[in-house]
Every structure is written in structure tokens, then in C-alpha cells.
Amino acid sequence: MTPPDWSVWDVLLTSAVETLQTTIAGTFLGALFAYPLGVLAASNWTPVWVHLPIKAFMAFVRSIPLLLLALLFVSAVGLGPFPGVLALAVHSVGVLGRFVAEEIEATDPKPLLALQGTGASSLQIIQHGLIPQVLPQMVAHLAIRFEMNLRDSTILGLVGAGGLGFYVFLYVKQFQWQKSGVLVLAIIALVFAGEFAAWQVRKRLI
């Protein structure tokens, strides 16, 4: 892989940006569904016929390997970053939703009951009681999920779902080791940066 071939600089930049965008879009799209689903999956908030199927669905989604999900979406919507976004989103729903549900189940119910006692409605109790109590943990989980999604999305290209991984795979197939080596370095740097960012977020919260 040496010496590194820096002629791939342009490819590196555009595909790194694509990986980053895929991660951000996938994580937040997933979070958008994970939070409400997570609330519904909390066993102390909803009846068993609501939370059990949702929990089962999230467990099912989690059990599918990410690359397989990406492959499924590539075959459904074609090559490019879009199937990558969808795969990350679906995977995140399974993982984040479970955290949300578990966090809510572990929340002290007494202050929430006290809020109910003021005459607040269920949605007001969620807004003024539940969310403030779980928000720091929620954000911490989101940061961790972002960090892991970034790592995962660098290899989504293997199945044609865009980003840095796609070019790594391309150059490897063409035996252009010097070029692929540069991209691997870029992946390492990107993942490292993601981890640092997530750590910064969590440090401020806890």
C-alpha cells in the first residue's frame, strides 16, 4: 500500500463527505422513528399489546446485519448513498428504540405521577416530566449511535451503497493498493474524528 498515492484526493473528499452525509441522514432519520416507537415500546407506559409487538419488531430489525440490510435496499432502490441511508436508519430504529424504551422504563415514576396530580395530560407529562428526565441519556445514546453508524457506513460501499468504502473496494479490485491505502487512512481518520465528537458531546452531558 506504500507509497500512498495522493492523486485520489478529490475522490477522497467527495466520498468522505458522502459517507458523513449518509451517516447523519441515516442516524437522524432513524432517530425520528426511534423516539416515538421507543416511548410506545416502554412497558410501563403502554399496554402489552402495544409494547410487545413493537419490541419484537425492533429486536427483529436489530438481528439483521447492516450489510444485509444495505444489500436489500440496494436491490430495492438502486446503487448510491440512498440505500445506505435507509439501511442505517432502519438499523438505528432497532438499536436506539430499544435504548429509549429501556431508559423510560428505568425512569422514576413518582415525579410523573405528581405531574399527573396537577391535572396535566399525558402528552404534557411526557413533555414536562419524561423528556427532561431522560434527555441527557437520549442525547448520549444518539451520539454513540452516530459514532457507530459512521464506522459502519464507511463499509456500506462494499455492497454498492456509496461512500468511502465503495472506492476502497473499487481500487482493491483493480489492485491499486496505493490509492486504496490512502482511502483506508481517511476512513480511520474519519472514524476517529467521529468518536472524538461523540465523546465531547457525552462529556458535556454527564
Binding site: P111, T118, G119, S121, L123, H128, G129
Partner: protein
């Protein structure tokens, strides 16, 4: 002027898991009364309050609270009922990661629509009521602090302000000072009684120490096994009488003949069970 009855209970029974937890033959509370409930832990003090609040249903009997006949089925009516009855708890039960002001504002949630509370729109009246409630408990200088950063006594004051912001008619206080040290307990009790006078509230509180009940209430209910064993004015509750009551109550927080507390720990009755003479009694 005839006294207005705010709580009326006849032959009410609360059962949970097949066990009768509360069996009240007759209880009437008039507006403005200051009632203390004493009794061992497990005697049903909390359950009585939760029943009045509408949290636990009573299986039979007649319960009327401020004209609302139990059981209250309609959710809107239940919300109104909740609003009328403020409640403070042993462990304060505030939202720790919200500020003092926000916690007091929670008392207004029953009055504002979801949309308004979601957008953080407060009416002039809401702001004024919250400010007055915070003033009442002397926490103006701590309004912006997170509730969890306050001391226990301060947190209980926030809880009192939250209840006041509800504009209730009845205030239930379930062991309001049990997790506070004695000096602080007196401060909180003084405050509780003074705000109830200022807001003309009917106060019903459960207290773990009979001397607090005698000092702060004008009427005392003594409970055992879900029944009211004694109901009378606190003046008529003499030391001898307390001895008698605690004798059949099985002694948690025993008061001996000199009116001082002999033991606080549960079920440490050194002289056997019922019918035994009390030390010094």
C-alpha cells in the same frame, strides 16, 4: 354559618390484590380544617390520600369530594378533580432537571392547553400565580436553579409552591417532613400551615410524629389496619390518650407518658403486643 363539607366518606372500602386495605365507616372533613393522620406504616395513610386523589378506586361505599361523586369516569372531570386537590410527598417528587420556576409552572399545566404549554406560552395570569407561589415559599432567589441542586427542605418548598400554583381547595401532604431533619421539619410545617391559612386550603397531612400532629393540626385521625380508630380534636388528644392509641396501634413512634418520642423504628415493642402497659404510662 354551617360548615361546608368538602370530603364525605361513608362505608368506603379499598381492596388491592384481594386484601382490604382501607375500610372507612364514616369521615367528614369541612372546608378549612387542618387534619393530621397518624398511624403505623402500612396503616393506610397513603392509600387514603391516593383514594381521595382518584388514583386508587374504592370498591364500595360513598365518597364525595368537593361535590364530585366517586368513581369519576370522565377523564376531563378527573383532570379537574386533580386540579382541585394539591398533593405533596415525602420525597418531593419534583422534576430534577427542570428549574424551580418550571416545577412551579407544572402546577398550571392542568389549566393550559397542550399547544400553549408545548410552545411555552404563558398567560400573564399564569406568570403572576407562579410568582406569587414562589414568593409564598421564599424561593425568589433560587427560581432559575435546577430543582435537583436544592436541599431537601428547599425542594419541599418548591413542591408546596407547585401545589399552590394549582389553585387547589384541598391540600394533601403525605409525610411531608419525614425525610427532613427535625429543625427543618418545623420550618416546613410552619410554612405549610401558614400557606394553608393564606390560601384558605383544607389541609390533610399524614405525620410520623404525634407531637407534630398535636402542634399543627386541629383534628387528628389515628389509623390502624386501614380503619380510623380515633377521630377528634387535637386538644382532646391527651398524652394518656396517645398512649392508649399507640398501645393498640402496635407502636411505631411510641409516645411515652411524658409526651416524648421513645422509639421510631418499626415494630420494636419491647413489652410484648397489645394490652401491655406502656413505660411510664
Amino acid at each position: 354559618m354551617p360548615k361546608e363539607v368538602v370530603i364525605q366518606i361513608e362505608d368506603a372500602r379499598v381492596e388491592m390484590e384481594g386484601r382490604t386495605i382501607l375500610a372507612l365507616d364514616h369521615l367528614e372533613v369541612s372546608r378549612g380544617e387542618r387534619v393530621a393522620i397518624i398511624g403505623n406504616s402500612g396503616s393506610g395513610k397513603t392509600t387514603l390520600m391516593r383514594m381521595l386523589k382518584g388514583y386508587v378506586p374504592c370498591q364500595e361505599g360513598k365518597v364525595v369530594v368537593m361535590g364530585d361523586v366517586f368513581p369519576i369516569k370522565d377523564t376531563q372531570k378527573m383532570k379537574t378533580h386533580h386540579r382541585h386537590i394539591g398533593m405533596i410527598h415525602q420525597h418531593f417528587d419534583l422534576i430534577g432537571r427542570e428549574t424551580v420556576w418550571q416545577n412551579v409552572y407544572h402546577g398550571r399545566l392542568g389549566y393550559v392547553s397542550l399547544l400553549k404549554s408545548a410552545l411555552g406560552i404563558c398567560s400573564e395570569r399564569d406568570l403572576q400565580i407562579c410568582a406569587q407561589a414562589i414568593h409564598e415559599v421564599h424561593l425568589e432567589d433560587k427560581q432559575r436553579r435546577f430543582a435537583r441542586t436544592l436541599s431537601g427542605g428547599e425542594q419541599q418548598r418548591v413542591a408546596i409552591a407547585r401545589a399552590l400554583a394549582q389553585e387547589p381547595t384541598i391540600l394533601l401532604a403525605d409525610e411531608p417532613v419525614s425525610s427532613l431533619d427535625p429543625a427543618l421539619s418545623e420550618d416546613i410545617m410552619d410554612l405549610l400551615v401558614s400557606v394553608c391559612d393564606a390560601y384558605e386550603l383544607t389541609l390533610i397531612m399524614s405525620l410520623h410524629l404525634p407531637e407534630l400532629a398535636r402542634k399543627y393540626a386541629d383534628r387528628i385521625l389515628a389509623m390502624k389496619n386501614g380503619k380510623i380508630m380515633w377521630d377528634g380534636s387535637s386538644d382532646s388528644l391527651s398524652n394518656d390518650r396517645i398512649c392508649e392509641i399507640y398501645e393498640f396501634m402496635g407502636t411505631n413512634g411510641v409516645v411515652n407518658g411524658n409526651g416524648t418520642r421513645a422509639s421510631r423504628s418499626a415494630f420494636t415493642w419491647p413489652y410484648g403486643w397489645q394490652g401491655q402497659p406502656l413505660p411510664g404510662g
